[in-house]
């Protein structure tokens, strides 16, 4: 393009200028498509003979979060396979879209589902940043958005809106407060050191534990934070050992950090009875990776696959058959319970969309489902049981997180007034409540 075209630049400048002008002029006259009325995004006004609830399900089923993302999808699908996808004359049709854990792709997929597929409800996605982005978009187009896994506190606090419901999990701080309470009381620990992921989810989880522990007389002697990219935890384990506290609380966001921490911790010969992990550090993925050496490991979560319950047993049996013998973890449970809540309100009230669907869910109390008794607060967040769990090996050779203590009706406010709680800054390294 250099030697043969020395005369070109002026022409090009002209062309570019022309194009720019043309673009600006054209913006003045709207294309025909924009003049048409917006299609009704909810689709609720269509009078169909046999009604269909169209569900757009966004989840990272490829990339680095593929396991959790696929589990979230599997849990949802499993429910409809077990119970049939026709409830009270309403057919539930699901379109799954992959966002690879990338917020930009999440948003594009959400727009695709709403505008092209005209779905009635969006479910997912998984990661906090993708979930917050999609929740905001969904509200702007008036489509309900259910969250089976996303744990960001703000989803049902500072960013709460009338169309966003956390259906299948709890906020990070909410799910861990009872862990602190248990450790300081029944657990019998006086001092604790914490090791949490150094970003929002870790800060929130830790804040929950710390407040629960301190409110019940415990003292947190040191707080360590690991970058999410950490693969070798030995340096943190050495610091934990040096801190010399009665117990260790560890919060990770699932994936490799759980097993990697345990490998380092147990490798140094430290005492497993001093550990309390959060939901995700001790999820089924960790249990499968670590095997029998972690029988007896304690953790705190809203999901306990080892709980004696008909609903849980039904899910375990179905998932084992589906996966070739695996036990369902929290992400599967999140997808499954979300489906069961939708089915339950359809059963009672028939075809519902928009705010009606949201209020039907949030105004109900769901007894005896896989989490236990679940209801919702006015910010559309789950209020339900939190379990202190212990890893138990059952006759089928699998490891189960089995409850040893239960805290019923845990909400996200720790006894504070919601308005006041929302005046606080977000949890961070510097602010733990």
């Amino acid at each position: 393009m250099t030697s043969t075209m020395t005369t070109a630049p002026r022409r090009w400048i002209g062309l570019v200028g022309l194009a720019a002008t043309a673009a600006l002029v054209l913006t003045a006259c709207a294309p025909p498509q924009a003049a048409e009325p917006e299609p009704d995004a909810g689709g609720g006004t269509e009078a169909a003979v046999s009604e269909t609830l169209k569900v757009g399900y966004i989840s990272p089923v490829t990339g680095n979060f593929a396991v959790a993302g696929q589990e979230m999808v599997d849990g949802w699908n499993l429910y409809w396979e077990l119970n049939g996808n026709e409830v009270n004359g309403v057919t539930v049709e699901t379109i799954v879209e992959d966002d690879a854990g990338n917020p930009e792709i999440s948003l594009t997929k959400a727009a695709k589902l709403v505008e092209q597929d005209e779905v009635d409800v969006l479910v997912g996605p998984l990661l906090a940043n993708t979930a917050l982005a999609v929740a905001e978009y969904a509200e702007s187009v008036g489509v309900p958005n259910l969250h089976p896994v996303a744990a960001s506190d703000d989803l049902t606090q500072r960013n709460a809106n009338g169309l966003t419901v956390r259906t299948g999990s709890m906020g990070g701080s909410q799910a861990n407060y009872p862990g602190g309470e248990w450790a300081a009381t029944e657990g019998g620990f006086d001092t604790a050191v914490t090791l949490c992921a150094d970003y929002a989810f870790g800060w929130e989880s830790c804040a929950g534990f710390v407040q629960g522990f301190q409110d019940n007389g415990g003292e947190v002697v040191e707080q360590l934070w690991f970058p999410n990219s950490t693969t070798d935890f030995s340096t943190y384990v050495s610091q934990i050992q040096a801190a010399g506290a009665d117990m260790v609380y560890v919060a990770t966001a699932g994936g490799a950090p759980g097993p990697n921490f345990l490998t380092s911790y147990l490798g140094l010969g430290l005492d497993m009875d001093k550990l309390l992990l959060n939901c995700c550090a001790a999820d089924q993925g960790t249990l499968r990776a670590m095997g029998d050496q972690i029988v007896g490991l304690k953790s705190v979560s809203y999901w306990a696959e080892g709980r004696e319950s008909e609903a849980v047993a039904e899910l375990i049996e179905a998932y084992k058959e589906f996966s070739g013998g695996n036990v369902p973890g929290a992400y599967i449970a999140g997808g499954y319970i979300t489906a069961s809540l939708v089915a339950s309100v359809l059963e009672e009230q028939g075809y519902l969309t928009g705010e009606e669907l949201v209020s039907a869910i949030t105004e109900s109390t769901f007894e005896d489902n896989i989490f236990g008794r679940v209801s919702f607060d006015e910010y559309n967040n789950t209020v339900g049981p939190v379990y202190i769990r212990e890893v138990v090996k059952r006759d089928d050779g699998n490891l189960y997180n089995t409850p040893i203590a239960t805290y019923e009706d845990v909400d996200q406010w720790f006894g504070q007034d919601p308005e006041e709680a929302l005046q606080q800054p977000n949890y961070s390294q510097d602010f733990q409540g």
Binding site: M1, W12, A23, Y137
Partner: protein
């Protein structure tokens, strides 16, 4: 001015007409949004393309520059500042970040340049994660509204298209200027240019500032489009994809970034709806392009056409400023 030039101009004009007419084809907002996403990615990729094609400096940190600019808009919008201030702040942040990048990287070249920019990008990524009081941490900043009626998908599309044309044109003008020629001279032999009395560092720094500014513009466009920014925009995966777009499209070519961006964005957002193992598909596309269209799509098509016409490809085809063989082993530039 020869016939081939005319043909190329005609093709460019046709492309522009198609792009201008797109909203009139009655496509949905989703398709328009997708087209905007592609154009924004193309603006960002063209900044990488300019630096890599003319300067021989392939950057793995441009995603983070765009993200820094997007964060500036996001932070300013959260403070309730108006859109003019948002853009000004974004500009300032972009210039500062680009200057630092340029300053720290100007002594390196080749793979070492790649790694410095990667490291700087990772530092910005780390800051986005850690400085949660400013950046919102992993949750990012949401609810960043575009000013005026830019939230109308078709209006925004035209704005993006206009800016794409302007930035692409501007980069082309720069690269056709004596400055661009000197830059290519630097790319091919730093030592020769130095002995000719050129201030190598100054040229490299200027090139980086130009490229960084374009990346910053893309950052503002992106954040107004998605109304959202989070650390993943600054992540290394994004920057790798940018380089991939550039090479796929054809490094140093005018339309390469657009073609590369279109391929990557469409695979990510559209093909992924139909093909479960789409990352494998993306990988295979890369491999096939490299094997059968070594100079990237835009770099190879003219050659193939020339071959089909039975002409000897002696004249450098337009749009092919750098033969891919020109970017050879990195330490060639380290001769004293």
């Amino acid at each position: 001015m020869n016939r081939r030039m005319l043909v190329n101009l005609a093709l460019l004009g046709l492309l522009l007409v198609v792009l201008l007419a797109l909203p009139y084809f009655g496509v949905s907002n989703f398709v328009l949004g997708l087209a905007s996403t592609i154009l924004i990615a193309a603006v960002l990729a063209s900044s990488v393309n300019f630096l890599g094609g003319d300067g021989g400096m392939v950057s793995l940190g441009h995603g983070a520059i765009a993200a820094a600019s997007a964060y500036a808009v996001g932070w300013a919008s959260r403070q309730g500042l108006d859109s003019m201030t948002q853009v000004l702040l974004a500009l300032v942040v972009t210039l500062v970040v680009s200057f630092l990048y340029g300053l720290l990287s100007m002594r390196t070249s080749g793979i070492y340049f790649l790694m410095v920019t990667l490291a700087l990008g990772m530092l910005i990524y780390g800051l986005a994660f850690r400085l949660s009081s400013v950046t919102g941490g992993e949750n990012g900043i949401s609810g960043i509204a575009a000013p005026g009626n830019l939230h109308e998908e078709w209006i925004y599309y035209y704005v993006v298209l206009g800016i794409f044309v302007i930035t692409t044109g501007a980069l082309w003008v720069v690269s056709s200027s004596p400055f661009g020629a000197s830059l290519r001279g630097l790319r091919d032999s730093e030592s020769r240019m130095r002995s000719l009395g050129y201030s190598v560092a100054q040229y490299k720094l200027s090139a980086f500032m130009i490229s960084g500014t374009v990346a910053g513009i893309a950052g503002v466009l992106a954040v107004w489009h998605t109304n959202f920014v989070s650390p993943s925009s600054a992540g290394v995966e994004r920057s790798v994809l940018l380089v991939v777009m550039v090479i796929l499209g054809g490094i140093g070519t005018l339309l390469g970034p657009l073609i590369g961006a279109a391929v990557v964005v469409l695979v990510e957002n559209v093909l992924s709806s139909y093909v479960d193992r789409w990352p494998t598909a993306l990988g295979l596309i890369f491999i096939l392009v490299i094997l059968f269209a070594r100079a990237g799509v835009a770099g190879s098509v003219p050659k193939v056409l020339a071959k089909l016409r039975g002409r000897s490809p002696s004249a450098t085809p337009p749009g092919d400023r750098s033969s891919p063989e020109g970017t050879a082993v990195p330490d060639r530039n380290h001769n004293p």
